[in-house]
């Protein structure tokens, strides 16, 4: 628990920064829009309708949607718009916070007694005076209630910013969920909930101060809120050294390898941050655009995904093809293969009598396939399905950890396992052979961003990892993180792997 807590302060800082920025932007947009809507019923219908529509989009999807949107925008204006990290998170959270703000500003203004407004006109108030002296103070309590709602939502939803590569309290939650470290999940959840509670209480203080016309109370609340923002932001003040950002996808091996890369770079004097939980397509584009500096990819994934190739060439041909393609197109660098494969392979429980994918195809109509979250959408799946005529009774998608559970408990009869997964050996699972060679090779390869491709110190720190990790070592490291008892952290596994890798 202690190391879970230790990593919180910088995450709280960036979490608060994001939530505060989103709330500020939502207020800047929402207050005038609410005011204009209160005066024009047709605009109100339009604005509130649009804001409600946004609310119906799941917040995770809204965040994800901004990634292609910003990529397109960046392409349109010739680059320079970051599609990952702060910007998409800010925009999605801002949109999400708009509805309660606008709705309550409109409701607060509409609830004002018309006689009071007539009196305001009759005593000779200018529109500005009417707004400042009458409408704003009378609508404030209702508007504040909306702002409180928006703030609590925003702080909660900011945990999802982790998925677009912005560090937030979602980091320990998502990482913990992945590697079943419930202390991490709890630490993230409790910290986010406490932030929301404290913010809500302070905004409530301001609301009461306004409602009861006690200026001191409102100012105290506002002062404490600002103080809290500053305190939370303190860890960010330690200076923006040019740090290396290491990307990782959403499974244990990736967390471990990211930490291993991080250890080597730190030894070479670099500051290191991690962007974890990235999807396959997102990770490579993030590398090409420089949002991350380095990550581990798998050759077959890149071949069929970003490169859009079909077929399954031999190992060396594929690696050469990748290196050539990178040099011509995205200018990223293939530093080299790490020495093991993490191929997609169908795994079944021991004793099933199945040996190859062809055997599986024969019995598939009465079996259920358990897949990880992206496998069923990947070209490899389509290729192998075509090659063997695979037709399952049903397919279900799981996060990797739960996929092995599903096989174990019989919810799934075959799974899309990973060949470097420690649970294969531990559970005595049978990996099916691929006689038609429909699945491409999945060599783990180390990739560097266009900028880092020119950084010789950086490359020198990483080259010793090339062809240095055996599949046995990787399986063992993975298993220490994935097993149910005596679980190790990815850091500990990376430390062990580092020792095995020194030559």
């Amino acid at each position: 628990m202690r190391d879970a807590l230790a990593q919180l302060p910088p995450l709280i800082a960036s979490h608060v920064l994001l939530a505060a920025a989103a709330m500020a932007l939502a207020l800047v947009i929402g207050l005038p829009l609410g005011l204009a809507s209160a005066r024009r019923p047709r605009l109100a219908a339009l604005v509130v309708g649009f804001a409600s529509l946004i609310q119906t989009v799941p917040s995770l999807a809204l965040l994800a949607l901004f990634y292609p949107l910003l990529l397109a925008l960046s392409a349109l204006i010739g680059g320079g718009v970051p599609a990952l990290g702060f910007l998409p998170a800010l925009l999605a959270l801002t949109l999400y916070a708009l509805l309660p703000i606008i709705r309550n500003v409109v409701a607060g203004l509409k609830a004002i007694d018309p006689a009071v407004l007539q009196a305001a006109d009759a005593v000779g108030m200018t529109p500005g005076q009417r707004l400042r002296l009458v409408e704003a103070p009378l609508a404030a309590p209702v508007a504040m209630a909306g702002i409180r709602t928006a703030a609590v939502w925003t702080i909660g939803a900011a945990t999802l910013a982790t998925t677009v590569g912005y560090p937030s309290l979602g980091n320990p939650i998502f990482a913990g969920l992945q590697i079943e470290r419930w202390d991490l999940v709890l630490a993230g959840c409790i910290a986010a909930a406490l932030l929301a509670l404290v913010t809500d209480a302070l905004l409530g203080l301001i609301e009461r101060g306004i409602g009861r016309r006690r200026r001191g109370l409102a100012i105290t609340g506002l002062g404490l809120l600002i103080l809290g923002l500053l305190l939370a932001g303190l860890p960010l003040l330690r200076g923006p050294e040019r740090t290396v950002t290491i990307g990782a996808k959403n499974f244990s091996e990736q967390y471990i390898l990211a930490r291993l890369i991080g250890r080597r770079l730190e030894q070479a004097g670099y500051q290191v941050t991690y962007r974890e939980g990235l999807g396959s397509a997102v990770a490579f584009r993030a590398l090409a655009s420089g949002d991350i500096d380095v990550y581990v990819e798998y050759s077959g994934t890149l071949w069929a995904g970003a490169m859009g190739r079909t077929g399954a060439p031999a190992r060396q041909a594929m690696l050469e093809g990748i290196a050539r393609w990178m040099a011509e197109g995205p200018k990223t660098l293939l530093v080299g293969p790490l020495g093991f494969e993490n191929a997609y392979a169908f795994a079944v429980r021991p004793g099933s009598g199945l040996k190859s994918i062809a055997d599986l195809a024969a019995r598939a109509p009465s079996l259920t396939l358990g897949a990880d979250l992206e496998f069923l959408d990947r070209p490899e799946w389509h290729a192998v399905r075509e090659a063997y005529g695979l037709r399952f009774k049903g397919t279900r998608a799981y996060s990797p950890t739960f996929m092995y559970r599903a096989l174990e408990t019989g919810q799934a009869d075959a799974i899309s396992a990973f060949s470097s997964d420690g649970r294969i050996a531990a559970d005595h699972l049978v990996l099916l052979t691929d006689p038609k060679q429909a699945m491409p090779h999945y060599d783990a390869i180390l990739l560097a961003s266009p900028e880092r491709a020119k950084d010789s110190r950086f490359l020198a720190a990483l080259r010793p990892l090339v062809n240095a990790i055996s599949v046995e070592n990787m399986r063992a490291a993975n298993y220490t993180v994935d097993r149910d008892a005596d679980k190790q952290s990815p850091e500990a596994a990376a430390r062990w792997l580092d020792q095995q890798t020194h030559r």
Partner: protein
């Protein structure tokens, strides 16, 4: 001393304080005010009576530009108010209406002092302003919701007078009050009118109130002024059938009350 609609002593510039020239106002094609021409002499207390929907309130609201005429002109102190800054105009005209419209988040003192504050004239003597309308200065720091309806309307009147305008517009100011309070406030307003040298236009649907307070009574029906007479002329039946119909009600009530006596 009131001129009873006859020749008034001329005002500063010999002009009426308020004049309508062929003023009309329509809502959705229906005339609320239908080509009205009218002069209100300085210092007069004019009551505007007539059935609901006859255009009384609209006519009043044209005087401080809370509403604008579709045709014709409205002049205050001889100036066409279409060319006067409406903000300055309203600060110089007292306006009191049935729903009072005190600012619920401001104290009584702040409510009364709002026009001087808006005009940048600083603070006023709240105690004197409260006493003028028969209220204790203890109320100064209360909020409107802590006062009775009658007290609130007294504050409404004090707020209107604090602008130091000489023209006072009242739109059914006592409509929501009980009869005793209503009578007391009516007499108080008439007294203030005389003491401060105001020109007052009072909209009411209560003919008895109009007869007892005003110097001059205008009867309005369907946007037009159908009778313009002194209370005495109206009571003696010289003001036409509409006025007779309105005055018949209090007269019959008085007679029925008298008949109740043994």
């Amino acid at each position: 001393m009131s001129g009873a609609g006859g020749v008034q002593v001329a005002g500063r510039e010999g002009q009426p304080v308020l004049a309508y020239e062929q003023a009309s106002r329509r809502y959705a094609g229906v005339s609320a005010v239908d080509y009205v021409s009218l002069k209100i002499e300085r210092g007069s207390f004019v009551a505007l009576v007539g059935p609901s929907g006859s255009g009384k309130s609209t006519l009043l609201r044209l005087a401080n530009r809370l509403d604008l005429p579709d045709t014709g002109r409205v002049l205050v102190d001889g100036k066409d108010i279409a060319h006067v800054d409406p903000i300055q105009l309203r600060r110089g005209i007292g306006y009191v209406f049935q729903n009072i419209g005190l600012f619920p988040h401001l104290t009584i003192a702040e409510n009364i002092g709002i026009i001087p504050r808006l005009a940048g004239r600083g603070s006023i003597d709240v105690r004197a302003a409260l006493e003028r309308v028969g209220l204790s200065s203890d109320l100064a720091d209360r909020l409107p919701a802590q006062l009775s309806g009658g007290q609130q309307q007294r504050v409404g009147i004090a707020r209107a007078l604090a602008g130091e305008g000489k023209l006072l517009l009242m739109d059914e100011p006592f409509g929501a009050l009980d009869p005793v309070t209503r009578d007391r406030l009516g007499q108080m307003v008439r007294q203030l009118h005389d003491d401060l040298g105001l020109s007052t236009m009072l909209v009411t649907h209560d003919m008895a109130e109009a007869l007892l307070l005003a110097d001059r009574i205008l009867v309005m029906t369907e946007g037009r002024i159908v009778a313009d007479a002194t209370p005495r002329e109206i009571l003696s039946g010289q003001a036409g059938p509409e006025a007779d119909a309105l005055v018949a009600v209090p007269r019959a009530q008085t007679k029925r009350l008298a008949d109740l006596l043994p």
